[in-house]
């Protein structure tokens, strides 16, 4: 069995599709089932806002804020010393 024969074996005839009817069917189902679509969230703004809020909260509570590099350097020095 060569590639053409596999192609022929998997052939299903020349059917057309009615995309608009299918879309109408989809809309009806989505409406009937009250499906809530997913939309892309504004990633950067959400992340920035979240981090900003956390930082403000930390400052209010008197928590020292430092970079990871500084924290690690200090932590390592403490261990070595």
């Amino acid at each position: 069995m060569n590639d053409n024969e596999i192609e022929k074996a998997l052939a299903t005839g020349d059917w057309g599709v009615d995309t608009e009817s299918a879309l109408a069917r989809f809309r009806l189902r989505a409406e009937r089932e009250r499906v809530v679509p997913i939309v892309a969230a504004p990633r950067r703004r959400v992340a920035t806002g979240w981090i900003r809020g956390l930082l403000e909260y930390a400052r209010e509570r008197g928590v020292e804020i430092t970079t990871y590099t500084d924290y690690w350097a200090r932590h390592s020095a403490g261990k070595e010393g």
Binding site: L10, L23, A30, E31
Partner: protein
């Protein structure tokens, strides 16, 4: 990160991006499912489910939308094929596409139906990735599109396809 659309309760028109995606990919998704199932009606049902799954869980403008739909079409159709079980000969004959022999030739119908059933049995029997690969390739997807859909390297598609064809040939005898 993705979030549910605020304020929407499912009524009204679909998001424009989703409608564009649906119009752009529906025929191809049906084509992939039809290669596996050999039945237009079932293929359209599978396509509806595939689009609904995507609609529920992914933003329509996601860059991976088309490959996701292609892969889901192949896998959902293979699942449907396995779940289908044995159909009556009459149902199978009714589902034959219009370019199959005329209904006044029972012998030809019997042969065509047998071949068609065997092809579907083989697709259900070979490894799922091989069956999906064949369905995608013989639905007209390029190697690059197959690679994206199945999350494999484009340079591996040729080898994987040859293996899938070999598996198919062996099972078809």
């Amino acid at each position: 990160m993705t979030l549910p659309a605020g304020g929407r309760e499912g009524a009204g028109p679909l998001p424009a991006a989703f409608e564009r995606l649906f119009r752009g990919e529906y025929a191809r998704v049906v084509g992939i499912a039809r290669r596996v199932l050999g039945d237009q009606g079932e293929a359209e049902d599978v396509a509806q489910e595939v689009f609904m799954s995507f609609y529920r869980a992914h933003p329509a403008d996601a860059p991976y939308a088309a490959p996701w739909l292609h892969a889901a079409a192949a896998h959902a159709a293979l699942n449907a094929l396995r779940a289908r079980g044995r159909r009556s000969r009459r149902e199978t004959a009714e589902a034959m596409p219009s370019d199959t022999p005329a209904p006044d030739d029972p012998a030809a119908i019997a042969v065509a139906t047998e071949t068609r059933d065997e092809v579907r049995t083989v697709l259900a029997r070979i490894p799922e990735r091989s069956a999906a690969l064949l369905a995608l390739r013989y639905s007209g997807l390029s190697y690059a599109e197959i690679a994206q859909a199945l999350d494999v390297r484009a340079s591996s598609v040729g080898t994987l396809l040859r293996r899938a064809e070999d598996a198919f040939r062996r099972e078809m005898k």
